[in-house]
Structure formats: structure tokens, C-alpha cells
Symmetry: C2
């Protein structure tokens, strides 16, 4: 026994010498190597939809592992509570009112929309290209479906995905929109949605086969990583699910206890696992950062086909926390210092943070709303983000300063679900004590309302709104 063990130990020692040499070599390389960035962006996924954020029946082991090995942010915000403006915010690091991607007339872009993200905007992809990154947009775009607005005209070298939401382009002869969704899930077919699938600027499939789309997005990301393992890259992987209609591959169907919605999330999670594996296989663990978040909260009127905001109030379309606060997971062994981060962050901060980390020149010809989170990610310093503005269309409905959030206007999600209510005395909540926004304390702390009002006034005083790009139809 002893002899065998000794032999094993010596073998281990030799391997150790070899490995540590290799590791040293790699680390030296890595020190000079720029970081790769991967943003995995889900659609309509709620704060409470991952097991690491308390979901009782959706099992997301790969995202849980990302959270465990990296940072789990619990006060991380999307830039808006619906799709198009939220995506504009992430990619430009600016509030959507600044790019014309927020509107009071049409909340998002549609297949008949005339415009898209203006060419004058600088996307994170364009910013990273200035320092030599190779870039890919995989998944849902929703910032303009005409060629001049597609990802390939906004800094991405490669695009594979659908140009707007997966519930658009419904074929003729179906029930009216809201009635359609009252049917059992079996009656809802991927062929009912004539959504095009693009590769770069070409439509390669129409209707896109949504049963396999989640899996294909993850595979596209993996193959892009493998192809570009020797250069800095940026992958923006924007799944079009779990936005309704919900579809999964045969392999994922019926696997989750949470039903179809859970199957979809577990298929996304499975793809996350494949991406992490690819990063490891390519030896890129030490110089790649992966972020996971979502564009806005769960679409609650769809009941069990929508997600859960956990303890947070309301969901998609609203400026309650459930509409805009999202899981925010940062993974990157060797760079991201693991831990729970209860400070604030925003998807807009990704622009600024990754710009800084990549060494790109800072932008000084326009106002950016993103804040550099590097020191929090790398060293657990307090987050420099101290406030959040909650826009609905082009109007500020609520604002957060430190622990406190004031609601000037509240409103439910959509159409019949949403009744607008203006508050003469704004509602005030201490979100650190009362994340569920249950206990209005405006009358106890009027001085805080004043501070928040000042913040909003200061913001408005230098705000230049871009012309509404969402309202016009062809």
C-alpha cells in the first residue's frame, strides 16, 4: 500500500511541476491578455426564477455555480421594464430616452416599425472594436429589423438571431392576441409566429424554429468562443426566451418540475453550462468574464407561462421592483472576487465597466449613465452606483437614492392591467428593509423625498431627449 501511495505522490509531484509551469505560462500570457466578455441576457426572466435566487422548483445548477464561484448581485437593475428600451440601455450605457428608444406611444419596436437604434449611438460592441475585439450578437435584437439597424451595423462582426420578439408576426387566422394565449400550451405552435431568423443580414429560416432556438443560440456562442480563442472577444447572447411563446427542444421537454416555463429556463441554464465548459476547454477561464441577467421582470398576466419576481412587487412593464430588478451574476475566476453584492448595479454599467476593463477610450462627447463597477467586481469595494431612475416611456415614474425609492406615478403592466395613478405625495419605501415595497414611509421621512426630488431635478436639467424612434410605422 505504502509503496503504491509513494509512487502516486511522486507522479503527482511531477504532474504538479508540469501543471504549475503551464499555469504560470498561461498566467503570464493572461496578464497581457485582454479580458473576454460574455453577456447572457434572458427575456422576461424574473428576480425569483433561478434556484440561487430562491426558486423552489426551477433547477439552474449552472447559473447557481456561476453565482457561487462569482458574484451574486441582489440589487441589479435593467435599464427599463420592457424589451426595446432595456436592450438599448444595456448596449449604449445610456438611458433609453437619450437614444430615442423610449416612447409613450409604442412601448417597443414591432415588425412594422420604421426606425431602430440611431447610427449615432455607440454600442458596447463598437466601443470594444476600437481596442481590437471580435464581436458577436446571438439571439434577440429588438433594436430595429431593417438592415441599417441590425447588429452588423452596430459594431457586431457576427449576428445570428431574431430581430424582434418571438410573439410577433403572428400568422393570420389565429385568435385575437390575448385570447390566443388562453389555449393550452400544446395548441401554441412555433409555426404560428412568422419570425425570421437571421445570419448576419440574411434571413436563413422563416418562421424560425423556436423549439430548437435556445439550444442553437448556446451552440452558436460555443462555436464563436472556440473560433476566437486566440483573440479578445465580446459575445452578446440575448435569448429570446422565456418571453412567451414558450418552446423547448425535445431533450428539454418535460424535464422541469416547474412545467414548460421551467423547461425553458433549464434549457437556458444547460446552455450556460456548455458555455462555461467551452471557456474551460479553451483555457480562457482566467481571462473571461461572464454576466447573466435579464431585460425586465416576469410577464405576470401569463400566469404560469410567466415567471416570478420572488419577493418583489409586480413585474414586467411596471416601475415596481419586480419590473426592473433582476438576477445579476458575474463569473470570472481570477478576476471577479466571489461574494454576495447587495449594492446597486445596472445593465447600463456593463458598458462603462467593460469599456474600462478593455482599455477603450472613454467617451466624452455625450452623457453616459453607466458607472464603472470594476472595483466592486474585482475587489468588493462599495458600488459607486447610488441611484436608479425608473422610466416608463419618457417619463420618470420612480427614483431610488441609496436605500430609498420614491414613486411619483404608479401603474400596472399593460392596457387593461395598468391603471395610472399620480401621487401628490410620492410613495416612499426603504428598499433595503422592505424590498417588497409594502410599507410607505413618506410621511415619516419627508426630507428623503426632497433629496430624491433634487436628484430627479438635476437629471432633468441636463437631459436632452432624442426624437422618439419607436412611434412611427411604415
Amino acid at each position: 500500500m505504502r509503496t503504491i501511495r509513494l509512487a502516486t505522490v511522486l507522479l503527482s509531484a511531477l504532474l504538479f511541476i508540469k501543471c504549475s509551469n503551464e499555469k504560470e505560462k498561461r498566467e503570464t500570457q493572461n496578464e497581457n491578455k485582454p479580458l473576454n466578455f460574455i453577456i447572457i441576457f434572458a427575456d422576461d426572466l424574473g428576480y425569483g426564477d433561478l434556484s440561487c435566487y430562491g426558486n423552489p422548483t426551477i433547477n439552474t445548477p449552472n447559473l447557481d455555480r456561476m453565482a457561487q464561484e462569482g458574484q451574486k448581485w441582489t440589487n441589479f437593475y435593467a435599464g427599463a421594464s420592457v424589451c426595446t428600451p432595456s436592450r438599448a440601455a444595456l448596449l449604449t450605457g445610456r438611458l433609453p430616452v437619450r437614444s430615442g428608444m423610449a416612447s409613450n406611444k409604442r412601448r417597443v419596436l414591432f415588425p412594422d416599425s420604421k426606425y431602430g437604434l440611431p447610427a449615432s449611438e455607440i454600442t458596447l460592441a463598437e466601443q470594444l472594436k476600437t481596442v481590437g475585439y471580435t464581436t458577436a450578437a446571438i439571439g434577440k435584437w429588438h433594436l430595429g429589423h431593417k438592415e441599417q439597424y441590425l447588429p452588423t451595423n452596430h459594431g457586431f462582426d457576427y449576428y445570428f438571431g431574431i430581430p424582434y420578439s418571438n410573439d410577433m408576426d403572428m400568422v393570420d387566422g389565429l385568435l385575437p392576441y390575448w385570447e390566443y394565449w388562453q389555449q393550452p400550451n400544446d395548441s401554441i405552435k412555433t409555426a404560428h409566429f412568422n419570425v425570421p431568423l437571421f445570419r448576419n443580414t440574411e434571413i436563413i429560416e422563416r418562421p424560425a424554429n423556436q423549439n430548437t432556438i435556445t439550444k442553437r443560440y448556446s451552440e452558436e456562442a460555443v462555436s464563436f468562443i472556440k473560433k476566437n480563442n486566440d483573440q479578445p472577444f465580446f459575445v452578446y447572447l440575448a435569448h429570446n426566451l422565456p418571453h412567451i411563446p414558450l418552446f423547448v427542444s425535445k431533450e428539454a421537454a418535460g424535464k422541469s418540475k416547474r412545467g414548460l416555463y421551467g423547461d425553458v429556463l433549464e434549457e437556458i441554464d444547460n446552455g450556460v453550462g456548455k458555455i462555461l465548459d467551452a471557456i474551460k476547454e479553451e483555457g480562457l477561464t482566467e481571462n473571461t468574464i461572464v454576466v447573466f441577467t435579464s431585460d425586465n421582470g416576469p410577464w405576470l398576466p401569463f400566469k404560469n407561462n410567466g415567471g416570478s419576481a420572488g419577493l418583489l412587487r409586480a413585474g414586467k412593464g411596471t416601475t415596481w421592483e419586480g419590473g426592473m430588478r433582476e438576477p445579476g451574476i458575474f463569473w470570472g475566476p481570477g478576476n471577479i472576487k466571489p461574494g454576495l453584492i447587495t449594492d446597486m448595479g445596472s445593465t447600463m454599467d456593463l458598458f462603462t465597466t467593460f469599456s474600462t476593463m478593455s482599455g477603450a477610450k472613454s467617451i466624452d462627447d455625450r452623457i453616459l449613465d453607466g458607472i464603472d463597477l470594476s472595483e466592486t467586481l474585482l475587489n468588493h469595494n462599495p458600488s459607486p452606483r447610488k441611484s436608479v431612475l425608473y422610466y416608463r416611456g419618457t417619463e420618470i415614474y420612480a427614483a431610488r437614492l441609496g436605500d430609498f425609492k420614491a414613486h411619483f406615478v404608479t401603474q400596472g403592466a399593460y392596457g387593461e392591467f395598468g391603471k395610472r395613478q399620480e401621487h401628490e405625495t410620492p410613495l416612499l419605501y426603504n428598499l433595503s428593509h422592505d424590498a417588497a415595497e409594502k410599507f410607505d414611509i413618506a410621511h415619516e421621512q419627508p426630507e428623503i423625498l426632497e433629496q430624491i426630488q433634487k436628484l430627479v431635478d438635476a437629471h432633468k436639467s441636463n437631459l436632452v431627449m432624442e426624437k422618439d424612434q419607436l412611434a412611427d410605422r411604415e
Copy 2:
């Protein structure tokens, strides 16, 4: 460089030989060594109160680590939605109606109560004593404050704690109960509650200093572990917090972003860390199992001084999920197979599981409601628990079978908060799809209601209720 590294490697190799010998020695010992059991039981802590269950501002790194290294159960139930019956259920492995610890007249025991847990009941401590365990009850008892009902007369070798809730024995001259709690937290003093602190059967402090009590409980547990490191032990550590009134030590005060309630939880979590450290220091990691859970859901009428049930509906006192579903964390490297467990479990199962694991004789002179979860804990086999009965007092308000829960009666928490409503057609929820109990599907799946009714009928047909032990006053 190369020389230094080679020397390091050889040193590592030598250490490796030494360590692996020691580990082997310890493992051989452990194979023959019985398991130690530690149950850490919080009071009024909600499903959503730990960071690993999605809380955004309460930071519980030690419990998170337990969950990460062990099993995190997301469908784990307390035996009742209030204190006394829940504790009886855990310690006897039986529904509280079987031991007379459930009542429709008084929901829990009070300082003027006449009785307690009957001597005829077999507690987990008594069961483990039959196979040579040393046992300690530390913390809140609430199963009878008279000597014959105290832990030392129910199988515990040692007792350190308070006999009932920390809000009892309020001193004269204070405001009426509900008005008292409207004051700011600063006005609420530990001296206002003349609760006695016992060591064994002696009162050693009155009023108990609740500012230091959480810390002292954890210290007592640590010193008991250290004293008994050479024999099998069972520690039942039942914190009396975060039940109101909330108190913390100076060290913990003002530390949490969640305010006083968060400070309390973080002090409990800190104690968990000390206990895990002690287990490691004593070399007991491989043969100790630690469980963390709570007696019932959050006491919601106390607003920010109560906890959060996360996505679950309602809280303490109710038979909605928020009243009885709790965090359930099992830690025990080498025994507990790590992972997320979305199957059902109950605090009553601890009795049966730990009896089996300890080799104690099974009990055949009475009905047990606990089910052996060993195979799930050790091997991830599906949980054998397929149903849960939700009693309020001596009446079944709801029952769960597999994914489905039927509510025969619903009612809010207490007094003015609770309006009783009987449902001619029970409400039916699919808890796997709809943990928040939002979407009644009784009319879609009447056959499931029938199955649940059969389960309840079968249970009632052989139910022998013990005489109500809670109703009588001195």
C-alpha cells in the same frame, strides 16, 4: 526558481503522505463512529429570509455555505404554523394533534399554562439516548415550563434556554400588546419581558438578557460540542429569535442592511459559522450532520420586524405556504450528498431519519408521521414523502399530495387579521408550477381534489387525538 519549486513540491508530497495517512486513520475511525446530529431551529424565520433563498439584503454567508456544501431543500415543511405544535412535531415525529399539543382554544403554551408535552411522548432525544447519545437542548423550549415538562424530563441531559416565547411575561404598566409594538424599536427593552433563563431545571437569570442570548446559545452549543467530541451527541439549538421582540448583541447591532431584523439573522448566521468551525476543529466533520430550519413562517403583521416568505403566500399562523414552508438546509460533508432538493420533507422526518441513522430501534407502539429521508440525504433518491397535512389547531385546513394542494378552509394569521373562510369546492393549486398559490385550478382538475380527499379521509380514519394540553390555565 525551479529549485525552489522542486523543494516545495517535495515538501508538499511529504505533507500529502502525512495528511493522507491521518485522513485514512480518521476515516476508518469515522466508519465505526455514529453520526452526531445538530438541529438549528430558528423562530418565525421565513422562506425568503436567507441570502441562499433569495433575500436581497440579509447576508447569511455561513448558512449559504451549508447550503452550498450540503443540500438545500425548497419544499421543506414545519409541522405547524405556530410555535408550540411545530416544536412538538419536530421532537416527536408526530402531528401535534396526536400529542395534545394542538388546540383550537389557545394556539400555544403561555406562562400560565397548566400542562406541557405529555411524558408518554417519545422525543428524538429519548430515542437517541437508547443508543448512547449525549443530548442537549439549547434555546427556546415552549413545550411546558413546569419542571416535569422541561427538556431534562424529555430526554435531554442538558438544558440552557427560555421555556416559552421571548415576548411573554411582559411587565405590568406597558401598553396593551399590539400597541406596545407600534413604538420605535429603541423603546423596546429586554427588561420589559420577564422571561426566565434556565440552566437545566434552575432559573439562572430573570429577565433573561435577550441582547446577548443568541450569542450565548451559539457559545453553549460550541462548548457542548467540544466537551462531547468523543461520544455521539445530539444538539437541539432552538434560537428564540427572530421572533419579536428583536434584540442583538453590541457586536451585531447596525451591521445588516436589512435593519434590526437583519442584524438578528446575521447574528444567528454568525453562530452557525462558529458551530461549523468547532465541528472542523474537533475533527467531527465527517460524522456530524447539521440541519437548519425554522418553526413557522414570518410574523407579517410586525412589518419590517417580521421576516419574508419570499415568493410564498402569507406567513405565520396560516396554512398558506408562507406559514409552513421553510428553508431546510442539511450539511454533513462525507454523508449528505450536495445538491438542490425540490422534493418534500418535514421537520417530523428528522425524528425518523435520525433514529434510523443512529441505529435506534424503530417505534411500533404508536403512529409516527415522520418519514425516513436517509436515502434522499445520502444518495439523492426521490424523497419518500409524498404528502403534507396542514393543520390549524386540531382541524385540517389544507392537504398536499404530490404537486397539488387543496385548501378546505383558509384564514389569515391572528385575531383581527384572520377571517375564516370555508370552501365548498376546495381551492386547488399546483405548487410545483405555482408555489405562490395564485391560480386556483379546482375546476380544471376535480379528480385531484378527490384523491386529496381520500388521503385526508384515510388519515382521519385512524387518528387518535390526545386530549388538548394547551387550553388549561393555572
